[in-house]
Amino acid sequence: MALSEEAVLKSELRWAAIVAVIVGIILIAILYAAIAMHVNPPSNAEYIDPKTLHLSAEFTESNLGTRVDPDGQVVARVIATQFEFVPNCFVLPADRDVTIRLTSPDVIHGILVTGTNVNTMIMPGWVSQVHTVFHKTGDLLMPCHEFCGLGHSQMMATVRVVPPQDFHPGPDGRVSCDNRG
């Protein structure tokens, strides 16, 4: 079959074409997820100074946790610090667009939420942001998944996903694990 050098190269090229088709299928699937489902990696060119983070307006202690913003967006603001999340538990409604905004005053952290595609690094200097919709209700685990120091292993939070009808923001738009959900 493949006797001559040209025939050998031809068989390799034929194989390369098969590889190209396979890589092409993967690319199309990724593009479909990006355009039809709005799946992106969590890029966000938004600076915030970690050295004065606690003085900022958005990430001040009393503004952390879940809040339905005046424009109707459900936003959870969370601090990742050595070695805990603030707040340690937050409530989000199922079947609704939600945004989690996180940042760090100290070192690099990262989160995932078990059983979902929620995943981002948290870098001192940037606001990390994940937009998603939760479909399953219940308590999910949100551990720190990036080495952040000797207490890294104990750093985790709970995401309490409640059915939309059980999601009752207070007059200030806030919801917390302690009083609701």
């Binding site: 307006a57 942001q129 937009h131 000797l150 104990q154």
Partner: protein, 290 residues
């Protein structure tokens, strides 16, 4: 038919023209493949994906592409949240470069002078507490990092932390003075800097809390932060060698929320998870004499 291999050692090298004719298609093909890869990848990433996503975020093509290129904050597919809150800080300390420079300056004449005039009566000239019996009331500053000392001084000055003796003293001084005296005490007591690594004795449960923490309660080990160069928050003080009454009083104040100058409630959270018995046992564990 496989080519009959020729004896290569006797074969002359090809002429320059032959070699060049052999090389050119390779150069052209390689450049073509690489250029088209970058073009296609860039076109999809910077143009096609944002064009397909922009409607959901109600963005113009320009803004969608700016977001995809990282020139504007936010995702090309989702409206960007807006903040409406205002700042209510628990501590107004700020690690700006000017302060960081003073903190790194070590034992300066200015720091030594303030220490001698204002601090040494209670904290000693090397940061060793001058109140010894029955247990030190004043905390020792020896072996602390400049960040740790400055953080508390600044909080006393701003009112984030309240103490009858310390508040008026800190308010007498400028923040630059506070930084200078913090740098002085840290540098003057360098010999105690390794105090946190000292072997301590306690019952196994307390040793575990101090060294390993408790994953079940999401409690990090005390010593994951409270040792110099543990890699924890820079303003963390060393607690080994501090008086047990002082440590316990602070743990209780954090647990009750009476003291809340810890940024983002790190210690309020930890102390609140500890039982009163554990707080007392840990205070005993970390007590020691310098």
């Amino acid at each position: 038919m496989a080519k009959t291999p020729r004896k290569r050692d006797t074969r002359p090298a090809g002429t320059a023209a032959e070699q060049s004719a052999l090389d050119r298609p390779w150069r052209i093909r390689a450049a073509g493949v690489v250029a088209s890869a970058v073009l296609v990848g860039g076109l999809i990433g910077f143009v096609i994906i944002p064009a397909g996503q922009k409607e959901n975020a109600h963005l113009s093509m320009g803004h969608a592409m700016a977001r995809a290129a990282g020139l504007e904050a936010g995702s090309p597919a989702v409206p960007q949240p807006v903040n409406t809150a205002t700042s209510v800080p628990v501590s107004t300390v700020s690690w700006d470069p000017a302060i960081m420079r003073i903190l790194a300056s070590g034992n300066t004449a200015r720091g030594a002078q303030i220490a001698a005039q204002t601090c040494a009566a209670c904290h000693g000239d090397k940061g060793l507490s001058q109140s010894m019996a029955p247990g030190p009331i004043f905390p020792s500053l020896a072996g602390q990092s400049p960040y740790a000392i400055y953080k508390q001084l600044h909080d006393f000055r701003s009112g984030a932390r309240v103490n009858q003796q310390m508040t008026p003293i800190a308010q007498m001084l400028q923040v630059e003075d506070l930084a200078a005296v913090a740098a002085y005490y840290s540098a003057a007591s360098k010999e105690y800097a390794a105090i946190g690594r000292r072997e301590l004795l306690g019952d196994p449960d307390i040793e575990r809390l101090a060294n390993e923490g408790d994953s079940h309660r999401r409690l990090p080990a005390c010593l994951a932060c409270h040792v110099n160069n543990a890699g924890g928050p820079i303003e963390t003080p060393v607690i080994t060698g501090q008086g047990k009454d002082y440590i316990l009083a602070q743990l209780n104040a954090f647990a009750s929320g009476q003291r809340k100058n810890d940024v983002y409630g790190r210690m309020r959270d930890v102390a609140g998870k500890l039982t009163p018995a554990e707080r007392a046992a840990l205070a005993r564990y970390f007590e020691g004499t310098l």
